[in-house]
Subunit: 363 residues, 2 copies
């Protein structure tokens, strides 16, 4: 494998949308949410290990998840787990990885990806990433992967592509007109029908040189904080340096801080079957269903007159459901959620309510 290829997996999220299975001490990326025997992080790691050398894969996560990460990925060297002492969104996370990689290989080409998404077709995914690597090796561009939308989903960001900007030999690559955060339903419908929009996957490919240049230009304060300490990375002083600069870093996403401002952004349209698995509903959409359209994860789940539902329980728990249509049932040792699928977006709000009413113990 090409030793210039690097991967940064962002695994710092503390998502509550998969509550009660995800908890702040055990968020979604560490869970076997697909019921396949591996966590999303493990699946993501293994997928990238087929594209870049394993020693070039870095995971950026919160320091509280260090043990969990190393436990789930015993094949990783501890030094490849970059620990954030505070949560500062994706831009500082990427900056940290950039400065570490710069000390190792200034000629690096990097793919940056979330740790908790679903990719259905591995081989198309690998081809797509390699196509992106090929492009950024030759072009000073920031490449983002766009997913052809299949429905007017209001939970995703959208990228309007500019098909007047084309690149020889890269058929699915276009320029970018605009990024739009989660639109309302009518707007999302318009986007999808226009045929000019992709979903924003949050997967980026660029050369180290290009992304460093963009940070310098669009996030100069963040860049300086790191650059003033550039020689400390990949040394025993790194942790101390991060502890000092990270908390004073701006809290800002790479999309807002860089991608929406840079002129050299391109989007590679991809079609590998993708979901950000942001909600139980999106999980439902992506998993195999039984003949009554139920998605079942658990070893002792008995359904009677139940359809269009998702039921998830520990393997040693017996669940008997009768007369449910369109419900989410998620049982864990200390918490049970039963919720109509149409109410699912309220789970986030409810988690806050739970915090108010019962404190932190169930969160």
């Amino acid at each position: 494998m090409n030793k210039d290829l690097f991967c940064v997996i962002m695994a710092g999220g503390a998502g509550t949308r998969f509550w009660p299975v995800s908890r702040s001490s055990f968020p979604k990326q560490f869970i076997d949410i697909l019921g396949v025997g591996k966590s999303l992080l493990q699946i993501t790691f293994e997928r990238f290990a087929r594209i870049v050398p394993q020693e070039n894969i870095f995971i950026v996560t919160s320091s509280e998840y260090k043990e969990l990460t190393l436990k789930q990925l015993p094949q990783m060297k501890e030094e490849n787990v970059l620990l954030e002492p505070a949560r500062r969104n994706t831009a500082p996370c990427i900056a940290y990885a950039n400065f570490r990689i710069q000390q190792i290989n200034p000629n690096a080409k990097i793919v940056v990806a979330p740790s908790d998404h679903l990719i259905l077709n591995d081989s198309i995914f690998i081809d797509t990433i390699n196509e992106g690597f090929g492009f950024v090796a030759e072009n000073d561009c920031l490449l983002t992967l766009g997913i052809k939308p299949t429905r007017p989903d209001t939970g995703y960001g959208y990228i309007q592509f500019d098909s007047s900007i084309q690149f020889d030999g890269f058929q699915n690559l276009s320029g970018v007109k605009a990024f739009t955060e989660k639109p309302n339903y009518d707007l999302a419908k318009f986007f999808v029908e226009s045929g000019e929009f992709y979903w924003n996957s949050g997967i980026f490919i660029w050369s180290l040189q290009s992304i460093q240049q963009s940070f310098k230009e669009f996030l100069p304060d963040v860049y300086s904080l790191f650059n003033d300490n550039a020689d400390k990375f990949a040394t025993p002083d790194e942790a101390e340096t991060i502890a000092k600069i990270y908390p004073v870093c701006e809290n800002i996403s790479i999309d807002y801080g860089v991608m929406e401002k840079a002129k050299n952004v391109v989007v590679l349209g991809a079609n590998f079957g993708w979901s950000d698995l942001g909600t139980w509903n999106s999980l439902y959409e992506n998993l195999d269903k039984d003949c009554d359209n139920n998605v079942v994860d658990g070893e002792n789940i008995l359904l009677y007159d139940t359809k269009n539902s998702i039921v998830n329980a520990p393997s040693d728990k017996l669940v008997v459901a009768m007369g449910l249509d369109g419900y989410i049932v998620v049982d864990t040792k200390d918490a049970l959620l039963i919720c109509s699928k149409s109410d699912e977006q309220k789970v986030r709000t409810i988690v806050n309510d739970i915090k108010t009413k019962t404190g932190d113990r169930f969160i």
Copy 2:
């Protein structure tokens, strides 16, 4: 208290209709199903201890529930717990108690009652039982308590009373025309509208002499088995005797074996607020509801947009339910039931299905 008054509490049931809270190793009568801090058996015992001397209260139960019974009722003498080595329905159970009591006080007046019913008004109940004791002390009759029906319930037995047979000084006492087992809905409706029917409560009052005479007449085989060993009761040989005769006893209910055949049956109409608590629905009907008509038993239950439902969970479990209308949700350590209220009569069938599919471990 009158030392001639005795009470026999039947506590051998292995009911599965309150699954998953009730289990064969921990049936309904031992559960705090009302959420008041006491099991139905404890409540029943305490209620009768206000009517008859405590040392005259006997509990007949399966030998497998001996420890559970003594643990829940530490005030009982062990010898007052009569243990059945096999399940033989109510007639043999009552015969056993009769022969024990005969050795203690041949002049006994006895009230026989299930251990797992709901009585809402204790003082009316006590007055009713005392009225019954007063009557059977003077009359060679088998008295059963009838409950004025409030709805055409198809889960109950019905007693057609005969108002042409009246008794001086016992205004609510009548003769009996017929017993009817669980009728269909139309018949139940007809019964209720006719004003001539009571629900059969399964609570009986009689003198020892009258009930022994009836056994002799209508269940001579059962009577002989016990009577041939009459001198063994209340002696160290009792357990051995029971082990020998109980398994060969006919498996028959007191209703079918005696009450439907005897000519000296009377019914005392009562109005103390009664339910046999045979199902989660009947429990729902009888418990306090919140402003959305939900019955909640648990310390950490959060309901959103949920109504007409019953939610029952251990105190340390958080339950979040959203968008439920008319459901039963019962969670326990190893099993969860979610069931629409209209499907509840199927729980019994399901318990059999569970047995087929997962063996005994959840039953």
